[in-house]
């Protein structure tokens, strides 16, 4: 019965851990469903009037006149300038005699609409998918880089260690904000993948420092000397022997960084480097908040904050429980 199994049993005894794990699984399920298109597929469709309030708040009917305006009045006087498309347009206009159909829009929705009339609830669900994907992917990238660099720096020592420490000190010396802005500007604006790259490329430093310390500690442990004595190569010792024994540190850091990057994505969106307009994330919803809150349209910011708070809290508590389960020393 391996250490992982042992940890799993300890985890099962932790009520808070279980509860948070369930919430995390629910969020991941929502994200998967949204990715597969089963839910919030048409979050982008405009179903309500602009800023339609939530149903449980009395909608002010007079406010919004629904429906798209028909073709506006067009001037006939052409001041002597001939329009090359005049014949084709005349023909088309004749063909389309009927008035354009006006869509019917709801004046209030389950949890209200944003300025374009899109359902805030659906946006929150789709936002869950984007934010979790950004959080998980960038945390994975940062963890990969941090672990790789940390392993080589900690295990190899010598100039390798010096090089990575130099890289670490340079990356941590530059204010995080400037670093993110610069890389964001370099990578340009290509949506979710750029955001993941930005966060991943700047977020590895924390994990690097911890993994390097773990490798320094484990490198001199007897089981590694024993591995050397039976002829295991450096690479095997580094990744087959030591890595599993520091993996609990990496795992905990990974989930810590998921939370960190979900929150960073909000700041990135506020600065304009968030996800593209073809998708929505909690960050893009919160970025619209300042201009809406003043007008008294509180539902979008509330929806995004609650969704994010729930997910992030669950994830953080889950991380704590995992850490306690994997690292009993702290009992």
């Amino acid at each position: 019965m391996s250490l992982w199994l042992l940890a799993w049993q300890r985890f099962l005894r932790d009520r808070v851990g279980i509860a948070s794990a369930i919430v995390v699984v629910v969020f991941i399920a929502i994200a998967a469903a949204s990715a597969a298109g089963w839910v919030a597929r048409d979050w982008g469709k405009e179903v309500g009037v602009s800023y339609a309030p939530p149903r449980f708040v009395k909608p002010n009917p007079a406010e919004q006149k629904a429906g798209l305006a028909g073709p506006s009045d067009v001037s006939r006087n052409d001041y002597g300038i001939r329009d090359p498309l005049a014949p084709e347009l005349a023909e088309i206009r004749a063909g389309l005699a009927g008035a354009s159909p006006t869509e019917k829009r709801a004046t209030s929705l389950a949890f209200g609409a944003d300025k374009w009339g899109r359902d805030v609830l659906q946006k929150a669900v789709k936002g869950t998918e984007t934010s979790l994907v950004v959080g998980l992917a960038s945390a994975a990238l940062a963890a990969f880089l941090g672990t790789l660099f940390g392993a080589f720096a900690g295990y190899r020592g010598g100039w390798v260690d010096d090089f990575f420490n130099w890289l670490y000190s340079v990356f941590t010396a530059i204010p995080y904000l400037l670093l993110v802005l610069a890389i964001a500007a370099v990578l340009g604006q290509k949506g979710v993948s750029t955001v993941i790259l930005i966060l991943g490329l700047t977020g590895w430093t924390g994990i690097f420092r911890l993994v390097r310390a773990e490798y320094l500690k484990h490198k001199v442990r007897e089981y590694v000397l024993a591995a050397d004595s039976i002829g295991a190569s450096d690479a095997r010792r580094m990744f087959a022997h030591i890595l599993p024994n520091v993996s609990h540190v990496v795992l905990v850091q990974l989930s810590l960084h998921v939370v960190l990057f979900i929150k960073s994505e909000v700041i990135l969106s506020f600065l304009g480097f968030g996800v593209g307009i073809d998708t929505v994330s909690w960050g893009s919803m919160l970025a619209e908040a300042p201009s809406e809150l003043i007008l008294g349209m509180w539902w979008q910011i509330t929806a995004a904050t609650i969704a994010m708070a729930l997910a992030v809290t669950a994830f953080s508590l889950f991380t704590d429980s995992v850490r306690d389960a994997l690292d009993p020393r702290l009992e």
Binding site: R221, A226, S229, I230, N245
Partner: protein
């Protein structure tokens, strides 16, 4: 009667650490509480001081001059601790606050209980440090714990404990973390202090012979119960309980005859000339020359810091030698390709809890070397070889699917040995291979090693700080001090007439 403990029971969650213990500590007497790790001896001591961790449940009564300490108020206990009952712990280094000076920590007890002013407390502390035998106490006063040696730190701890003239001193394995020579001095100090200050003492140890040499009465504990109690003479002369008897005769006494050696041929397996190793400026091994004979055991004795482990690792090429020559059956050992060298020389490490990779199953640990060196056809065959080896070291086949944390220290060391045997090495370097185990287990493993040596005609380089164990195992013995081999001779000769003064001091410090 100073302290009488009636039906003391202590539990942590489901586990019952102490299951109804009853014994007394008479005035001005020294009672030794003896038992192996996990016997509940430390927990009993801590419950007298009521220093058990928050999740502990204590039952029964602990009477100190009529007052039940288990039900006394926090304030009463606070006044009692340090002034009437005080305690000395096993790890002096971690028991002193690293960021405060020794003087401050000793004076603190005085100022807390006796309300001495700063100047008076300082004077009294100087006298105490003098009394516990600390050289140049005025200088030591301002020093921090890490600036003192292990022995000095323990002396400071003792000074702190006796500062307020306690009636009862509890010493929880005060010497086991110290070197043998220093152990002797601390024991003499404790005995002297008890006599001069007319204190009672509760001495907790796992070493029965140590208990014998210091205690008036002995209480033997095992798994939370008292197996035997009585005066020291009576317990040593006619032990009633068979567990006590087993503990007594297991002690590898110096005069125990060694098992007859099967083979006599003195072919040389490994020869070292002028081996040297320097770690950033410090000369750890200064030119060691010795020979290991085929099928024979070369013992290497030395205290911690003598460089014996480094020498062992040098021989196994786990450390790069800074100089000197090593010949393996005539070939230059440093030239032999790495994998080939590894097949002929293996190492067994000291700490069973650290030398096995906790994340590998025993099956993986044993088959890995075979896979690396290409032994055995497929996985199944390698698994078969592994089961054979497990049997050799006295473990059943189902161990393959278990993980290190599911085994006791002794069993883990057996697995480590099995792993070393997978490559049928010519030489096995045993670095303190049994020192971390309980005395009862040590004996079994030493016998196992000797059986394996006879069966596989392997040579051993047996490294240990425990002279008795080395004498039991080795044909020839080397004594090392500060990186140099000070003496080398046959096992019996070296014990009969040790030439080097250091060897003599080592021999003298083993309790008879």
């Amino acid at each position: 009667m100073m302290v009488s403990i009636r039906e003391l029971r202590v539990g942590f969650g489901p586990v019952e650490a102490v299951k109804g213990v009853t014994f007394d500590i008479p005035e001005h007497a020294t009672v030794a509480l003896v038992g192996e790790s996990g016997s509940g001896k430390s927990v009993s001591a801590l419950s007298i001081m009521r220093l058990l961790p928050p999740n502990a449940r204590a039952g029964g009564r602990v009477l100190y001059r009529g007052m039940d300490l288990l039900t006394a108020s926090k304030k009463q206990m606070r006044n009692l601790r340090g002034s009437e009952i005080s305690m000395v712990f096993q790890e002096p280094m971690s028991s002193l606050n690293p960021v405060f000076s020794v003087g401050f920590q000793v004076a603190e007890a005085l100022r807390e209980h006796r309300g001495l002013a700063r100047r008076a407390a300082r004077e009294r502390t100087l006298e105490l440090l003098q009394e516990v035998g600390l050289a140049d106490p005025a200088a030591k006063l301002g020093r921090y714990p890490f600036q003192l040696s292990g022995g000095e730190q323990q002396r400071a701890m003792i000074a702190m404990a006796i500062a307020c003239e306690p009636q009862l001193l509890i010493a929880d394995e005060p010497t086991s973390a110290l070197d043998v020579t220093v152990q002797k001095q601390i024991l003499e100090l404790l005995a002297e202090l008890k006599r001069r200050r007319r204190m009672s003492m509760l001495f907790i140890t796992h070493d029965l012979s140590l208990a014998g040499s210091i205690a008036d009465e002995v209480v033997v504990m095992r798994a939370g119960e008292i197996r035997e109690q009585g005066s020291a003479k009576q317990v040593f002369a006619a032990p009633r309980d068979d567990y006590t008897r087993m503990l007594l005769d297991l002690r590898p006494r110096l005069d125990r005859p060694r098992r007859p050696r099967k083979r006599r041929d003195d072919e040389i397996l490994l020869e070292a000339r002028g081996l040297r190793k320097r770690f950033d400026g410090v000369e750890a091994v200064k030119g060691a020359s010795f020979r290991v004979l085929k099928g024979k055991t070369l013992g290497l004795v030395g205290e911690s810091g003598s460089g014996k482990t480094t020498l062992g690792l040098l021989v196994a090429r786990l450390h790069e030698a800074s100089g000197g020559e090593l010949r393996l059956q005539g070939e230059d050992a440093f030239r032999v390709p790495r994998l080939a060298f590894k097949r002929r020389l293996q190492v067994v490490f000291q700490n069973p809890y650290a030398s096995l990779n906790p994340r590998f199953s025993i099956g993986q640990t044993l088959t890995e070397p075979m896979r690396i060196h290409g032994l055995g056809g497929g996985e199944a065959e390698r698994r078969g070889l592994a089961i054979e080896l497990l049997a050799k070291v006295g473990l059943t086949a189902d161990a393959l699917f278990k993980y290190p944390h599911e085994f006791s220290g002794g069993q883990r060391q057996r697995i480590a040995i099995a792993r070393a045997l997978t490559l049928r090495p010519d030489l096995l370097v045993c670095d303190e291979a049994v020192s971390a185990l309980d005395v009862s287990i040590q004996a079994q493993l030493l016998n196992l090693l000797q059986d394996l040596q006879d069966e596989y005609a392997m040579s051993y380089l047996f490294i240990s700080h425990d002279l008795a164990v080395v004498k039991y195992m080795a044909d020839e013995v080397m004594v090392m001090k500060d990186g140099e081999i000070v003496e080398m001779a046959g096992a019996d000769e070296i014990y009969a007439e040790p030439k080097h003064p250091y060897t003599r001091a080592l021999l003298a410090s083993i309790p008879r």
